[in-house]
Subunit: 392 residues, 2 copies
C-alpha cells in the first residue's frame, strides 16, 4: 500500500457518512462486516486493486470509514457511486431473488478465491448447492460462444461424464460451450454452477433464462456483483478469474484464436490450476485456440471425463480406465514362431521346405515352431502339409 493511500486527510463527505452509519448500525440485523462488503461490491468494479488493498489492509468497515473521511485522488473513482449507494435496496433485491450473501468469513466461501490478488468482497449465491464443498470437487468447462455442433456435443458429453463422476461443472452460462456443458450436467441430474458477470437476479444472456433457472434450482448461480448489476464486457473477463480459481482445473472445449476461454485458462495456469484442452478437427477454426494451447504447452490434451478426473486428481482415487486393445490372429508370437506363422498359407497347405524358404528359417527351426504353433491352434497339420489353424 502506497503512503499516499495511508495519508489520512480529513474531509466531509456526507454520502460516505450516511453509508458508514448504516453499516455500523447493522442494517437489517446484519453484521457491519457483511454490510461493508456488500457496499464495496457495489462501489468498486470487480478486481479493483485500490479497493482490494484498502479492504485487505483495514478490513471492510474501516476501509469504508477511510473512504468517507479521506480525499485522495485514488479514492475519487468510488465517489460517484457512493453518492447513490442504496444498501437497503440491494438487500431487498437479494432477498427478492432468493439469493444469499457469502463472505470470506463464511464456511461456504470457496477458498480457491483467496489465491486472487483482488478477490471478490463477497458473493451472491442463488441455489441449493453448497459452494465450498462443490468447489472442492469441481472443474471449469469453458469455451467459445460461437461453438460448432461438434463442440457442443463434446461439451454436453463432458458435462454428463463429469457429473456422473460426482464432479461439479462450473461455467459461465454463455451461449455455445458454456450452455452445452451446463445442459449436459442437468440431463443427468448433476450439480452445475454458473458464475455470472452481472447480478444473479438477471441471468444473462436473456435467452438462457430457463436454463439458468434450472441451474439455480439444482446447483447455484454466483456473482460478485450485487443484484441489479448489468453484464459489461470488462466484467466478463473479470468474472473469468472466479471460474478459474474456485475450481481445481479448467477444461477448454473449443476456443478461437482470440477467446475469453484462453483468458480463463491463463488465469487458471497463473494460479497453478490444471489447464486442459480438448482437440478437434484441424479444419475447424473453433478448435484453433485449443490446439495452440496444447502446442505451446499451456494446456494438456484430454479427450474424455475420465482423463480429466485423473489429471485433476481429486483425492487421488480417480484413474482413467485402460481401454482394452483388440487382439489379432498371431498376436503374441515372436521371432521364428511369428515368421513361420506368417508364412503359413490360409487355404491350401504346404510342406516344411517351402515354409523354411518363405520364413527364412532352417527346417529344424520351422519344425520346432510348427509344433508350438500347433499346440496353440495357430497351425494345423493336414494330409497335404501345414496351414493356418482354426485358433489363428
Amino acid at each position: 500500500m502506497s503512503d499516499a493511500l495511508l495519508d489520512l486527510e480529513p474531509a466531509t463527505i456526507p454520502s460516505g457518512r450516511r453509508v458508514l452509519d448504516l453499516v455500523r448500525a447493522g442494517l437489517d440485523g446484519l453484521s457491519p462486516e457483511l454490510l461493508a462488503r456488500v457496499a464495496w461490491s457495489a462501489l468498486a468494479e470487480p478486481g479493483d486493486p485500490v479497493a482490494s488493498r484498502l479492504v485487505a489492509e483495514l478490513g471492510p468497515v474501516e476501509a469504508l470509514a477511510a473512504l468517507a473521511s479521506r480525499s485522495e485522488t485514488a479514492l475519487e473513482r468510488f465517489r460517484p457511486r457512493l453518492g447513490r449507494l442504496d444498501l437497503a435496496r440491494i438487500l431487498d433485491e437479494t432477498g427478492a431473488c432468493g439469493a444469499r450473501v457469502v463472505t470470506p468469513d463464511d464456511r461456504e466461501w470457496p477458498r480457491g478465491l483467496d489465491d486472487l490478488q483482488a478477490p471478490p468482497h463477497c458473493l451472491w449465491v442463488r441455489g441449493p448447492a453448497d459452494l465450498a464443498s462443490t468447489a472442492r470437487r469441481s472443474v471449469a468447462v469453458v469455451g467459445a460462444r460461437a461453438a460448432t455442433a461438434y463442440g457442443e456435443s463434446v461439451a454436453a458429453d463432458l458435462g454428463a461424464g463429469l457429473a456422473e463422476r460426482d464432479v461439479t461443472v462450473v461455467s459461465g452460462g454463455a451461449f455455445g460451450i458454456d450452455a452445452a456443458a451446463h445442459r449436459g450436467v442437468l440431463a443427468v441430474d448433476g450439480t452445475t454452477v454458473a458464475v455470472l458477470a452481472g447480478g444473479v437476479d438477471r441471468p444473462y444472456p436473456a435467452a438462457h433464462h430457463r436454463l439458468l433457472g434450472h441451474v439455480a434450482d439444482t446447483g447455484a448461480l454466483v456473482s460478485e456483483m450485487p443484484p441489479g448489476s448489468t453484464s459489461l464486457r470488462s466484467r466478463f473477463l473479470l468474472r473469468n478469474r472466479l471460474i478459474a480459481t474456485m475450481t481445481l482445473g479448467t477444461v477448454v472445449v473449443e476456443a478461437g484464436r482470440r477467446s475469453g476461454s484462453r483468458n480463463t485458462a491463463g488465469t487458471a495456469a497463473a494460479h497453478h490450476r490444471v489447464v486442459l484442452a480438448m482437440p478437434g478437427p484441424i479444419t475447424s477454426i473453433a478448435s484453433v485456440g485449443c490446439h495452440e494451447m496444447i502446442r505451446s504447452g499451456m494446456a494438456q490434451l484430454v479427450t474424455d471425463a475420465a482423463e480429466i478426473v485423473e489429471l485433476i486428481g481429486v483425492m487421488g482415487e480417480d484413474l482413467a480406465p485402460e481401454t482394452p486393445v483388440p487382439t489379432r490372429a498371431g498376436d503374441g508370437l515372436e521371432g521364428a514362431d511369428r515368421r513361420v506363422f506368417e508364412a503359413l498359407p490360409r487355404r491350401r497347405a504346404c510342406d516344411v521346405e517351402t515354409l523354411s524358404v518363405a520364413a527364412g528359417e532352417s527346417e529344424a527351426t520351422v519344425r520346432a515352431a510348427l509344433a508350438r504353433l500347433e499346440l496353440h491352434g495357430h497351425a494345423r497339420r493336414t494330409d497335404s502339409g501345414w496351414r493356418v489353424g482354426d485358433g489363428g
Copy 2:
C-alpha cells in the same frame, strides 16, 4: 558379436560356394560388394540381427564366405534360401522393372538409415528422385489404413502443403492416410517417395498400381527386398523403420489405438527424429492413437504444413507465419479509458455524471478519458451528451 559366431568351423556347403564364386567373379560386371549385398538382401529377412552383425563385422563378401564355410546354428536360418538363391534372376528382374541398387557406399544412400542397428544391406530404387538429397529435406506422413474422410482430406492437404514448401513426403503407399498423402503431393507436382514392404516391381496393394506408378514416374519407390519379394505382415513393421529413419521427422495423421503408424513414430522417437501428430475429433476412433501420443508426450501436436516445417527445422529457414488476429472496437483501450468506453451508449447519448456511475470512475477521470476517446474516434460528443464514436 559372440565368440560362437566367430568360431570358424570348416564345412562343405556347395550352394554357398556357388553363390560366393559368382559374387567374387563380379557377375554382370558388378562389384563383389554390391553383389554380396544383393545376396544378403535375399537371404536374410529385413532387420535380421545375425546377418547384420556378420556384414558389419566382416563386410558383405567375407560374411558370405563365412556363411559358405561355417556351420553354426545361428547361420542355419539362411541355408534354405541359400540353396535357391538366383542372383542372375534378381539382377534381371531389377533391370526389367527399371530399378537400381543403392548401397551404403553410394552417394545416393540416405544417411539416416545408418542410425539403425540392422540397416538394409542395400535398397532397390525405382524412379527419378535422388534419394539422398530428397531425404535431407523429407518428412514421413503416415497413418491409419482405415482412415476417415477427415483424415484423408487432412493428409492430402498436408502432402500438398509440404510439397509446396519443397519438402519430400515419404510414406508407405498403403490405403488411407499413406495414399492420400502421396496423392496430395502428386496433385501439386511435388516429389514423394513410397517405401514398400515387398519388391519395387510389384507395388502393393494391387489397387494402388496406378498411384504407385505415378510415384515411380516422378519420385521413387524404395524397398530393401529384391524384386519378386512379397509383402508379409512382419515386413511391413520392418519397412516402417526405414520410413522413420530416412526422414527428418514423422507426422501421424490418424491412428487407432493399435496401429503400425505408432510403430513408425516409436522408431522415429527412438532415433531422435521429430515426432508429430495431428489431432482430430475426440469422437473419432481414428484419432485415438494421435491423441494418446500427444497426451503421453511422445508426439507434438501440429495442425498444418507450416508448423511441421518449422519443427522439422530444415536449415533453420522455416518459420510458421503468425496468423493475424482480428481487431474489435475498443481493442487496445485500458484502465479507465476502457471502462468509460464500455459505459458509452451506442444509440442515445448520456451525460458525464451517468458515465461516471456506470464506469465507476470520478467525473474528472471520465472527462479526461472522453477527451482521449474522442481524439481516436471512440467517443462522440452530441448535443444531448456522449455516445460511441464512428471509429469504434
